[in-house]
């Protein structure tokens, strides 16, 4: 199934990716091809089959409500930020 250019634009918008027109066309073709494989998958009968979204049989994995120490604290983390002010990451304001 072919994917249209508007769809690529929508996907790019949703995933916050600026694309050049060359990229749009390239990805449109590649995604259309991938989508055809998905069509192939849909020829299989999966009636009554539950999806697996995680393997293994773990359940109820949790920890006690106790404060623990982490190897990186505020200053270590903020040191990675492109711009900070007043111990906070600084970003352009959303309109």
């Amino acid at each position: 199934m072919i994917i249209a250019e508007e769809e690529i634009e929508r996907l790019a918008e949703l995933s916050s990716l600026s694309l050049t027109s060359t990229e749009k066309e390239q990805f449109r073709q590649e995604l259309s091809e991938a989508n055809q494989h998905v069509d192939y998958l849909n020829e299989l009968d999966t009636d009554g089959v539950e999806p697996t979204y995680q393997v293994g049989d773990l359940e109820n994995v949790w920890r006690p409500d106790e404060v623990v120490e982490f190897e990186a604290k505020r200053d270590d983390l903020l040191a990675l930020a492109p711009e900070t002010e007043d111990n906070q990451v600084k970003v352009p304001r959303v309109l």
């Binding site: 990716l17 990805f27 995604l31 991938a34 999966t46 773990l58 492109p82």
Partner: protein, 305 residues
């Protein structure tokens, strides 16, 4: 004991070079150390090289490191054979993923490569098991081992089955990778675009400039398969196929402990089963949590030759 570490597995203070997200992580020095690294450090192992997995395998081949750890989402460890090495993609959940840069959360694993299965086993014993930082790690790796001889049977996969597995893997990998990569946004770390005109512009440009073409493809396709109008046909369908593959393998393994074959990396990743490749390129898949027994089996086979 020396080891080589994939760039995608973090050590505090080290940069992330030679990895898919290295450009978007420019200027980033890991603030955390992966559990596997911590445990090896405690065991007295020396980090010989922190690089891309190809370079790491060469290091092992040349004897500069006893084993290498790589990030594995679909059987990348199989490249070991090309370097004349053994490779193990362990059961999902055998080794903590804490500190490893995530792509496909339900399939990511840490692969181990070495000259002998014994070396792999030794490494695995040092790094496996729960650490309180990864909720998907199980604690009974040893109990999966079966003493006594293990049976092996060839798994015949026709083209249809191989393709089915690959497509299912591709769809699930895309969705999960798109999700894992939302955080590469130029806000708190990594590459941030200059001259962004607004917050939205900042996101769009930072990601466009920092992410590789491959990453963008995964992200776009992953977003596609997760859309409300597509998810049933795409992701959920792939997950149902995944179930069928898991059940089919379980059925195949009623009368055997090991399945041999080729192109087993993808189905091992889908089912979370351990898979070993030998320098000759032979691949063996075992039951979940039977990693140690599987390694023993391969070692015994090596002896028998």
């Amino acid at each position: 004991m020396k080891y080589a570490l994939d760039s995608g597995i973090q050590k505090k203070g080290d940069k992330v070079d030679a990895y898919e997200v290295q450009k978007t992580l420019e200027g980033y020095h890991a603030p955390i150390t992966a559990t596997v690294v911590k445990r090896l450090e405690e065991a007295g192992a020396e980090l010989a090289q922190h690089a891309g997995y190809e370079a790491n395998m060469v290091a092992v081949e040349k004897g500069m490191a006893t084993f290498a750890l790589n990030t594995d989402v679909g059987g990348e460890v199989m490249a070991a054979a090309e370097n004349g090495l053994y490779g193990l993609r362990p059961s999902y959940g055998a080794i903590s993923r804490y500190g490893m840069i995530a792509s496909a959360s339900s399939m990511d694993a840490i692969g181990v490569t070495a000259k002998t299965p014994e070396d792999i086993r030794e490494a695995l014993m040092l790094i496996a098991g729960p650490d309180g930082m990864d909720s998907t790690v199980f604690d009974d790796l040893a109990t999966g081992a079966k003493s006594g001889s293990m049976r092996v049977r060839e798994l015949e996969l026709d083209e249809v089955r191989v393709k089915t597995a690959e497509v299912a893997h591709m769809v699930i990998r895309a969705a999960e990778t798109a999700s894992s990569y939302y955080r590469y946004d130029g806000i708190r770390f990594g590459h941030r675009a200059k001259d962004a005109k607004s917050l939205k512009d900042l996101y769009n440009k930072s990601r466009a400039e920092g992410l590789t073409e491959d990453s963008k493809k995964w992200i776009l396709f992953g977003t596609y398969v997760l859309l409300g109008e597509n998810i049933e046909r795409c992701l959920i369908k792939a997950q149902k196929v995944r179930t069928m593959i898991i059940e089919a393998l379980e059925k195949e393994m009623v009368t055997t402990e090991v399945l041999s074959g080729s192109d087993l990396g993808v189905i091992a990743a889908l089912a979370g089963l351990p898979v070993v490749i030998t320098p000759e390129g032979k691949q063996y898949i075992g039951k979940r949590k039977s990693d140690l027994a599987l390694l023993q089996f391969v070692a015994d086979m090596k002896e028998a030759k």
